[in-house]
Symmetry: C2
Subunit: 192 residues, 2 copies
DNA sequence: TGACAAATAGACAGATCGGTCTGTATATAT
DNA sequence: ATATATACAGACCGATCTGTCTATTTGTCA
């Protein structure tokens, strides 16, 4: 059973994601979650803290989903790296997080609203992106890359490009465009 | 001499870009631009219209800057395509729009705040991105690509990835990561 | 049953929001 | 010099924002 705190964080994440952080008022989160205002301020000191909690929840949720999708796809690390882009396409099509749909990357969106790199939400976004790069680098090492860090940065950049293209322009096929480029990179960087 | 309307739009663009659209109030734009409230509402029917005017201004400004930077770089279309990423790096370092600095792409940020694809600001963002792809496709044709549209989409995706990486993670070198990948794509897609 | 903790509803405060309105000052052109 | 357009300053409106407070209800455990 979900605690009142979880109820708040999940509702906040959903509304922040679909309507933006500044555009979403506390009252809407309360009415949609059915939680009283005092309960919110018992768990969180301010709206900013709730924003951070929602993004933290998203961080865990997204990494769990992504790593699971990639591990499930294949035992081969090279195939796992490529399956990143198959997972992205499912996400873009709204098949990954059914209660949220697809409205771009919550962390890119957060960085757009809180452009100051020292803002806690922006810092969390940076950390989230770094975690993904680190995970990719591990797989690149396992796949036998001579420069796994560089390869991981390249793949991560393709991922970000695909996300933005899918969201801003509505082109879900961007995942396949990125996958094609990634295939060429892996062919060149990994031993046959 | 700048008209009052231009004064408004320039100030609005600067504040929207650095602080976000919803977080920037009308009163701040008025006080920083030194324009009276009634003058604003004589030129624009609402804040939403001012947002659109600011983004339209940014669209012109950015495309002018980018096309000029690429044309200036070289007469060779292949070199022009690669110079896209040199221009990006200058932008990331804050050397392109000195009154604005770098706070990500205004259109990616707008799409993050206005996630509904039918929102006028989101539509404008989509249009802006399409204009750039079209411009790249023309250059790809000039460079002799057999499939200029696909190549242009690939380069555009690299551009978006570099922008997001630079903004969210603060890694200005992302422009060079993208350029390396782009070089490989051009080597494979263009006649020697 | 009675005590205690947790969550409820909802009024309230103070600030800020977008937008309207009145009245005054400035500048240009005839 | 007078007419006209434009922009000014700033009061004002209703709505909404975050956050605080009181008083009531609910649920649990002894």
């Amino acid at each position: 059973m979900k605690s009142r705190r979880d109820e708040l964080v999940d509702t906040a994440l959903r509304l922040f994601y679909k309507q933006g952080f500044n555009a979403t008022g506390i009252d809407k989160i309360l009415s949609e979650s059915g939680v009283a205002k005092m309960t919110l301020y018992k768990h969180f000191g301010s709206k900013d803290e709730l924003i951070l909690a929602a993004l933290t929840r998203r961080d865990e949720q997204f990494l769990d989903w992504l790593t699971n999708a990639m591990e499930t796809a294949s035992p081969d690390p090279r195939a796992q790296l490529l399956s990143l882009f198959d997972a992205l396409e499912k996400w873009f099509r709204g098949q990954a997080f059914k209660d949220l749909g697809f409205a771009g990357c919550a962390f890119i969106n957060a960085s757009g609203e809180f452009t100051d790199p020292d803002h806690p939400a922006h810092r969390l976004a940076k950390q989230h992106k770094q975690e993904i790069v680190d995970h990719l680098a591990k797989l690149c090492t396992k796949a036998g890359a001579t420069d796994p860090e560089t390869l991981a940065e390249q793949l991560a950049l393709l991922k970000e490009g695909a996300i933005v293209t899918a969201h801003v322009r509505g082109i879900t096929e961007s995942a396949r465009v990125a996958k094609t480029i990634a295939t060429g990179l892996l062919d060149a960087a990994l031993p046959a």
